[in-house]
């Protein structure tokens, strides 16, 4: 099997991992002067988008899809009969450089199945990146998956070499983890390494993210968001990704229903409210642990807390403006700038500032005057038709 054939198998095996971001404030240089290749940018660059709308910015690939683990949701689980293959570190580094030089990707996203044991595979992952950094003199973006149960020296080596490291939580806690995998201990294999990564974040200028599978273990949105908030606050995690569970044939979870993409979408919206809008978990509008299906969490919060509105656009502080549906951090900043010079007296003055007037007007007062219609906001939008997950999975079957 040649390197490209391996890439197709191991690239496809990594497609469920979410890794959209390549933005990072400073380039980690492993070479001096103009020697070397590659850089990172603060805004990130997308190199393509697949027909499902996901951005391709990184060469997403596994080092091997041979795996000792039995995770019930995973297409690469040990008991599954699929074509298995592995890259050698040198081989993968070479293939990646061809993609990078030709500008097909912004960097590498490297993960792996657990081939013999965690330690050996983790060493191979680190070796691959060492080859890229020191032999190919690559200064670009590398996102490295830390395998569950990796040792502290391995985590330190990974943090030193990568721009981002991540360890997938998959579930909010051990109770749910046990229903997905008998070989993973949530506290020992997931939380402990995540907390070890935190020690190296500033020392090596690396960021940390994680990923959840939504709906595979029967967890609620509250369980997930609560864990996410804890990870942001106590573990130095910068970003969480969510992947709606899709059943895969010949896995123990093949009969579990697919998770609607809408649920994934609501979790992302809530995550943004936590990270960028200053919301707290307890402010989010959960009903029986789930986020509302029909309206987004910010609008649901506003409708649930009508006593807080309307906010006076000429006086409200940033944090209050950010609770208004249709106003984001950028438009809120613009409002603050504009009102330093002018009294904002009518919605017309907001039309060029990026404010979504249709959503925000009901919740804003312009020197005491309110425009907008509450009824139209509460009306649920027609449900987006989602295709069935009952497809033959990938090319493996």
């Amino acid at each position: 099997m040649d390197s490209y054939q391996k890439l197709m198998i191991l690239g496809e095996a990594a497609k469920y991992d979410v890794c959209a971001s390549t933005s990072t404030p400073t380039t980690k240089k492993f070479t001096s002067g103009s020697i070397g290749l590659g850089n990172t940018t603060p805004c990130g660059v997308c190199h393509s988008f697949t027909p499902d709308g996901r951005c391709i910015s990184l060469l997403k690939v596994l080092l091997t899809n041979i795996c000792q683990k039995d995770c019930g949701y995973c297409p690469n689980r040990s008991a599954r009969d699929i074509e298995r293959t592995s890259f050698s570190p040198e081989e993968l580094a070479k293939v990646f450089m061809e993609f990078y030089v030709r500008n097909y990707v912004e960097g590498l996203f490297l993960s792996s199945g657990v081939k013999c044991n965690t330690s050996v595979t983790m060493d191979d992952l680190i070796k691959t990146i060492e080859i890229l950094r020191y032999k190919h003199k690559f200064n670009g973006y590398i996102h490295l998956k830390i395998l569950p149960g990796a040792s502290e020296p391995q985590i330190e080596a990974a943090c030193k070499l990568a721009n981002r490291v991540s360890l997938n939580c998959e579930t909010p806690d051990d109770k749910y983890m046990k229903s997905l995998s008998q070989t993973k201990d949530f506290n020992k294999d997931i939380l402990m390494p995540i907390s070890t990564i935190k020690k190296f974040i500033h020392r090596y200028n690396v960021s940390q993210s994680t990923q959840f599978i939504v709906g595979a273990a029967g967890e609620t949105d509250f369980d997930i968001i609560n864990r996410v908030s804890d990870l942001y606050g106590s573990y130095g995690v910068k970003r969480s990704y969510f992947s709606a569970f899709s059943p895969i044939k010949n896995t123990p979870l093949e009969a579990v229903a697919q998770t609607p993409l809408k649920r994934e979408n609501r979790l992302y919206q809530s995550d943004f409210l936590l990270r960028l809008y200053g919301f707290k978990v307890e402010q989010l509008p959960f009903e029986n642990g789930l986020l509302p299906k029909d309206i987004d969490p910010k609008l649901a919060f506003a409708l649930k807390n009508l006593h807080l509105y309307p906010v006076e656009i000429n006086k409200a502080p940033m944090r209050e403006l950010l609770t208004v549906p249709g106003i984001g951090p950028v438009s809120a900043k613009r409002i603050l700038k504009l009102r330093k010079e002018f009294n904002i007296t009518s919605p017309d003055m907001l039309k060029n500032l990026g404010v979504v007037l249709k959503r925000s007007l009901t919740f804003l007062a312009f020197r005491g005057k309110v425009f907008g219609n509450l009824d139209s906001l509460a009306k649920p939008k027609p449900e987006v038709v989602q295709l069935s997950w009952d497809f033959v999975e990938g090319g493996n079957d």
């Binding site: 490209y4 890439l7 197709m8 690239g11 496809e12 497609k15 469920y16 380039t27 103009s34 020697i35 070397g36 290749l37 590659g38 850089n39 805004c43 660059v45 997308c46 190199h47 393509s48 988008f49 697949t50 027909p51 499902d52 709308g53 996901r54 951005c55 391709i56 910015s57 060469l59 997403k60 061809e98 993609f99 030089v101 030709r102 500008n103 097909y104 912004e106 670009g140 899709s246 697919q258 993409l261 613009r334 700038k337 504009l338 330093k340 010079e341 002018f342 003055m349 060029n352 500032l353 990026g354 295709l387 069935s388 997950w389 497809f391 090319g395």
Partner: protein, 252 residues
């Protein structure tokens, strides 16, 4: 009547004079088609100190407009394809002389919003091309790609690539010409014929298309979303565009 040219200094002067005289200056490229028949004065012949004397606030205002943020907006607007950019900029500078630049930069007026949008159009093209241009290695560390550009951005795109490729010579084929950024950071244009063949014959695109197809999760198909990021105008140019088009045409 004043005329001005496409240099930033000239546009700034024209804007200040317009604010003071209320007479709209004419872009020198448009003087032939204008109804103006008298002897125009080129703003470049008027010293800044004379312009700044016209109004008490002009001195501070000029310093305010000399900041990087405003200059970069003017610079990017000058790369925009629309020929009305010169008069729009003069209009914008006139507005800036009467209001706080920070307020103006929020896009609060129609003119400022239009100017900021045009800056975004140009910036977006550069940013998209930095992602979508595919290079083919040519002899001796020379990387060559193509780009379907709407605005005058080829050199800016190559400069953006410099950090990624610190020791490569880079070329961007635009029509029959190639814009080259050499190792000494000189930019020049030459005939693109030899490179066009090279790009057409490159087979790596097949590897990419196969990898790209394997990354697609069919159950999550969302063509509308893709189209927002990769507009249809790029589908014929990008290697993977045919796959997107095929998926878009599939009916379930």
């Amino acid at each position: 009547m004043y005329i001005f040219d496409d240099r930033v200094n000239s546009i700034l002067k024209a804007g200040f004079l317009y604010a003071h005289t209320r007479e709209f200056p004419v872009y020198e490229g448009e003087t032939n088609s204008s109804l103006f028949t008298g002897m125009p004065t080129h703003v470049n012949t008027i010293a800044w100190e004379d312009i700044l004397k016209l109004d008490l606030g002009f001195k501070n205002k000029k310093q305010e407009l000399g900041r990087r943020e405003v200059l970069s907006i003017i610079f990017f607007n000058l790369r925009h394809k629309d020929n009305s950019k010169y008069s729009l900029l003069v209009e914008g500078i006139k507005e800036l002389t009467t209001m706080n630049s920070q307020t103006w930069l929020t896009g609060a007026t129609d003119v400022s919003r239009k100017i900021l949008n045009r800056k975004s159009d140009v910036g977006r093209e550069i940013h998209k091309m930095v992602g979508y241009v595919r290079f083919v290695p040519f002899e001796d560390n020379f990387l060559v790609g193509t780009a379907p550009l709407e605005h005058n951005t080829a050199d800016l795109i190559l400069i953006r690539f410099r950090k990624r490729y610190p020791s490569h010579k880079l070329g961007l084929v635009i029509g029959k010409d190639i814009c080259v950024l050499d190792n000494e950071n000189n930019i020049f244009i030459e005939d693109a014929t030899p490179y066009i063949n090279l790009i057409e014959k490159d087979t790596f695109k097949d590897v990419w298309k196969e990898y790209y197809s394997r990354q697609y999760i069919e159950q999550r198909k969302n063509i509308k979303y893709v189209q927002r990021s990769i507009p249809k105008k790029y589908w014929n140019w990008l290697d993977e565009g045919s796959i997107i088009a095929e998926e878009a045409n599939k009916k379930y």
